[in-house]
């Protein structure tokens, strides 16, 4: 483990009932690194991401984000109260962007972004407005700050959702298929925002089917299949000379235009 590791996942297992979706996954992400996780549907890549901020409780294994370490043995090793506090600490260090945006429909774009700083961090309203406007501007959505989500396009919603996560000033951003629910012509604007974030040096963990994005932006590509990491490396290696047969099939499909 190198000194600038910010996310560490070790021997992670997740069962949904009888289904073993994550089978001993270990992964380290360094500060400022952009890691794209690719793989077919059902390979466990979203579950891995959701375990990192405990939207799914891991069945077994260790998660560490910015020196906050939570170990699970299925029952939870730490005392219940401490366990919750640690999960809270991890969530404060991670921002998450969802496939379905999950904007709060009863709040305007600005209010969506202000919600976390005000209710979770106890920030006063003036500061929260300032931070919210700064982050909406960062994703190019300041001009729609007073609109309700209902009146925004999918791409605009996702950009507001990114601003909402950024406003909490997380150390790591988790993206769970951020463009999969978008019409093709709206994907570009979201990917551009993500590229800019990467350029700013944000640490990003991106579950995606956007092979072009992974190839262009990722520092490292992680390939998952059947609940395991089967291959990882710099994009050029993974895309040009995949080792595992399942990776080859995935890349093949991309090159033949089957996946974007």
């Amino acid at each position: 483990m190198s000194a600038d590791t910010i996310v560490r996942v070790s021997d992670l297992h997740k069962w949904f009932g009888m289904l073993h979706v994550l089978r001993s996954v270990s992964l380290e992400v360094r500060l400022r690194e952009v890691v794209c996780i690719i793989g077919r549907s059902g390979s466990g890549k979203s579950t891995l991401l959701r375990c990192i901020n405990f939207l799914e409780e891991p069945s077994h294994g260790m998660i560490e984000v910015d020196k906050v370490k939570v170990e699970t043995n299925g029952k939870g090793i730490s005392t219940k109260k401490n366990h919750r506090q640690l999960i809270h600490d991890i969530r404060l260090q991670t921002g998450m962007v969802f496939q379905e945006f999950n904007l709060f429909p009863h709040r305007t774009a600005l209010e969506n972004v202000m919600e976390g700083p005000i209710t979770v961090k106890g920030m006063n309203k003036a500061d929260a407005v300032r931070i919210a406007e700064f982050n909406l501007d960062r994703v190019g959505m300041l001009f729609k700050k007073d609109e309700y989500p209902l009146r925004l396009s999918g791409g605009q919603k996702q950009r507001v959702a990114i601003a909402r996560a950024l406003a909490m000033e997380p150390k790591v951003m988790l993206f769970d298929e951020p463009t999969s629910a978008l019409d093709p012509e709206l994907i570009g604007e979201v990917l551009n925002v993500m590229k800019n974030l990467a350029k700013e040096g944000m640490t990003m963990l991106v579950v995606t089917h956007e092979m072009g994005f992974a190839r262009e932006v990722a520092d490292r590509v992680v390939v998952m299949a059947d609940g395991e990491i089967i291959e990882q490396g710099v994009p050029a290696d993974v895309f040009n000379s995949p080792q595992d047969a399942r990776t080859q099939a995935l890349i093949e499909r991309y090159h033949s235009g089957g996946a974007r």
Binding site: N53, T94, F98, L103, H106, E115, T119, V120, Y148, R164
Partner: protein, 261 residues
């Protein structure tokens, strides 16, 4: 051939003359206040029972299930008599009068209101639960990913959205509640219907007086349905959603009210 006593009938349906009789005036006021208090109690209890039923702790789920099972599975009238006479005779609680300045709240009104509210809580629990479950789980996840606790996410994100789903059936519950308060007549709580039965005991004109009584309830529920339509169209406008059923539809569709339980 029955001789309908028109003068008496008019005297008791026309508020300025009917209100000369304190039994009617105070009864009407009591009915309105009891309805509001019992409904409010029902909403609060319903919220907690609904959260209990959705809890991850089996004990809370069991308690909530048992509450709903009992209070929806037994007659309100029996619950009310059990609470008032049953608790009284055991001296667990005697329902003494409560004095609030000039206002005296009789034991019967306390017991009746409590029974109405507790019973309503069981029905509201299902309404609140349906409202919460109508909200996309992604909302809770997004709130949690920002670091909100379950309670904060409920209060700030889920419940305000669920309210939109909860308010229309809540309005119907209140309509029902105003009529159901009349059950309190059996424990001699001095609400509107008790007032009319007392007048009837004096004059023995049940046909005229009970028609008059029914018209008071009709007036209450009709006024309420106007208010309800206003509230719901307000909800719809603010959220840019569809409007609820219109005034006429609500009054005459017959599908909304449930009648006394």
């Amino acid at each position: 051939m029955y001789h309908f006593d028109w003068p008496l009938f008019f005297q008791y349906i026309w508020p300025p003359t009917a209100f000369h009789d304190p039994l009617i005036r105070n009864g009407l006021i009591a009915t309105i206040i009891i309805s509001v208090v019992a409904q409010a109690l029902g909403v609060v209890l319903g919220l907690f029972v609904a959260l209990g039923k959705m809890s991850k702790f089996p004990l809370f789920r069991l308690l909530a299930e048992a509450y709903i099972w009992y209070f929806r599975g037994t007659p309100l009238l029996v619950q009310m008599m059990l609470l008032f006479f049953g608790l009284g005779v055991t001296h667990i609680y005697d329902f003494p009068d409560i004095k609030l300045g000039v206002l005296v709240i009789s034991g019967a009104i306390q017991a009746g209101t409590l029974a109405l509210g507790v019973n309503e809580g069981a029905y509201m629990a299902e309404i609140v639960r349906a409202g919460i479950e109508a909200i996309d789980p992604g909302q809770m996840e997004a709130a949690k990913s920002l670091g909100m606790t379950y309670g904060l996410a409920m209060q700030r994100i889920v419940l305000p959205q669920a309210a939109k789903v909860i308010i229309p059936p809540l309005g119907n519950e209140f309509n029902s509640m105003m009529k159901t308060t009349s059950l309190m007549e059996v424990i001699s709580a001095s609400e509107l219907f008790f007032g009319f039965t007392q007048v009837n005991a004096r004059l023995f004109k049940p046909f005229e007086l009970f028609i008059a009584a029914s018209l008071y309830y009709l007036a209450l529920t009709t006024i309420w349905s106007f208010v309800q339509a206003r509230i719901e169209s307000g909800l719809g406008e603010r959220k840019g959603a569809e409007r609820g059923p219109g005034m006429m539809e609500r009054l005459f569709s017959g599908a909304t009210g449930k009648g006394a339980r």
